[in-house]
Symmetry: C3
Subunit: 306 residues, 3 copies
């Protein structure tokens, strides 16, 4: 890569690092967030029957990161509400998306090209939030890598991580699923970002902050646009993940080794299946032992119930 292009890259990264999120990028973030909330099941009914709960859900989604990091760092979780302007913008966006006459705003914003742009801008805010979280943790805990990763992650993926409780506000309760059990793409990419920025902050990466910001931002924006345009839902890390899982997190079947334990855990699956918890634990390809065992368990538990 020539000197010129390097210089250009450097300038570009500096430009990005000094970009102001307020107001345009923040607004895009609110739009994308509230629209994704609105597209969840049953939300429209709630928006009509109890607007306050709907508004509360939207705010939790828009400012969830700040709330969660506040709780984690023992700083006032209510702080995001103190920024009147942002709350006002978010509330306006919420109102327009849910209650605009003829639903004009939602129709307009869900027009594909515009939506891609909005989502792209939202992804840019992700970089800044991860970095903000990492720095927030670094202020209190020097070189506590785990804390920096956790806070950076929570700051930028707070809405998703708190989804169970956000749903509870709307009267929906789905304990059998959460972002830790089956992680969505945004949560994953945020976690990776938190790891990268935390490593960089502790000088484990031979990179300047603004360069890392540029590379990370370009990657998530391009990737997001690609997924939206091609409608691809598969995570780009699927192969790596399954590889890691099958090498590190499978081991030999513990069932062979521990028959007593096996039955215990099998009945466990059975009963778990009954309370609908096992539904979302698909056995990974690498662990051949599991499927059979789970069939056994179904049988066992059936026999039990007979």
């Amino acid at each position: 890569m020539g000197l010129l292009s390097l210089l250009f890259l450097d300038e570009l990264s500096h430009g990005l690092a000094h970009l102001s999120m307020f107001p345009f990028f923040d607004t895009a973030h609110y739009f994308v967030t509230v629209m994704s909330l609105r597209e969840q099941k049953g939300v429209l009914q709630v928006s009509r029957s109890s607007p306050l709960a709907c508004w509360f859900s939207s705010m939790l989604f828009c400012f969830g990161g700040g709330l969660l990091t506040g709780l984690m760092m023992a700083e006032p979780p209510i702080a995001p509400l103190a920024n009147g302007t942002n709350v006002l913008i978010a509330s306006t966006v919420w109102y327009l998306v849910f209650y605009c006459p003829k639903d004009l705003v939602y129709c307009l914003a869900s027009f594909m090209p515009l939506r891609v742009v909005l989502s792209g801008m939202k992804e840019v805010t992700r970089t800044f939030k991860v970095l903000a979280g990492v720095n927030q943790a670094h202020r209190k805990y020097k070189d506590a890598l785990m804390v920096m990763i956790a806070v950076g992650w929570a700051k930028a993926a707070g809405g998703g991580l708190m989804a169970n409780f956000e749903q509870l506000i709307r009267g929906v309760w789905k304990p059998e699923t959460n972002e830790l059990l089956n992680m969505s793409y945004p949560t994953k990419i945020t976690l990776i970002g938190a790891v990268l920025f935390s490593l960089q902050k502790n000088q484990y990466l031979p990179l300047q902050t603004n360069h890392l910001m540029l590379f990370y931002t370009v990657f998530i924006v391009v990737n997001k646009a690609r997924m939206m345009l091609t409608g691809a839902t598969a995570s780009p890390f699927a192969t790596i993940e399954s590889l890691v899982q099958n090498t590190l997190f499978c081991g030999s079947s513990p069932y062979a080794a521990l028959p007593a334990e096996e039955n215990k855990s099998c009945n466990g699956t059975g009963s778990a299946a009954k309370n609908g918890a096992a539904g979302n634990h698909p056995p990974t390809e690498g662990c051949r032992a599991l499927p059979e065992n789970r069939e056994d368990s179904e049988i066992t538990s059936c026999k039990k119930t007979d």
Copy 2:
């Protein structure tokens, strides 16, 4: 209004402002709270099978406001327990209401005239709690109206807002309902109070604090007594609410505009109905589109399950 009556009003408001809640008003608050807890379904069984859980529920109800505001403001949520005298009084009340031989105390306290007096005194504590919450928020966040409203609300309606988790302690879990989805009268009136006192604190109201306290207290006490004596359950704001809802929070049916989205959300209702979540989202009168759609959705989901 003559000068004399004005002077009298002023004196009265000063008297109220300097009224001490401890011990009599606080005790009345504990009595009303614990009795309302005892009258909930299944609580008596819990009080016999695990007194500790019952005591914990009662304390959560009695001191819920302090706990919730503590969490919101990153101040120790356990602080209310530090006031030994109040905890002792509350525990005594709890014991007498639940375990007094021959149930004398409960029978006595539920004697209507006495109960009206106790409830009236409890309402007085409401005013002081809202004000305390607003001031607590104002200390950290000058002119952050939203925060002051939220904290004032949480301080005086904490028990209700945390009801889901208070029930969880007793082994009851009702995710399909919470104070945000269908707000009870006390929570509503507290919210209104929080708004009024926050506006007054930021000089948006042409009133002195003690005058506002007097007017608000008189209103809630009189209204509470009226509701108890006439057995009226309808909120005095019902008409205003439905008016607001039908003008601001209805918009035209978004279903017409978004057929694809409609089906999605309809199936949503269907599945929501299955996990018992839709039961408490009665469509508001103003939104004609909803009932039909929900029938559709029932049909759709039925077809699905066939």
Copy 3:
């Protein structure tokens, strides 16, 4: 008791008081905790399908006390993660217990004699945690006995008290049971310890701290070993508890006094039984009124449903 033995006791207690938990006792704590987690129903499936959720559950169990007391005292709940070494050890233990080839580590550690030793060492950490919690509370709240008990209890029994939310991470939700409704032996013994150490801290006990530590530690270790070796599950306090419950927490049946209230609460039980909440409220022996009433209630609710 002779002077020599007294001197010996004093020396022993001093030795215990200056014992360092890190690394061996902490590691034993992690081993016992993670193994008890692994032996819960359905956990092995989760460990294969989503290792991250499994790791998170394990960390919640290992460091739950610190997290909970952090929340209660408005100190960063994330602080335990800041101690890199401990997190590293806990994570290694977690990995070995769940994913060790041929499951060697788990088989080895569940070999009874070794397991008794590990559990004994874990009990020693309990003493130190209770004391740490009591001191942590004492720093902020002098002579607030309740707070010291609560924090000491939470510090050493945090994992158990947060079990509902730890399960939620794994996609399991059992609202009908928690440590307050039917307290397990470890939680009980921790509560007793918290009470004792709080009383001692406020000079209500004629004992030195290190002597109390010695007596408490010996009691819990011996008792734990006895229970493991004899397989006894009954709490050693069962008789005292039922005595206390039947004298203090029974009172005369409130049902006789309040027929109206009775039906209410009966239907309560009925509906509670439906959402599976009543299952774990066995009426205590002392309260004869309850069983009949609950039969009535079943009947009532049956009639209702007919």
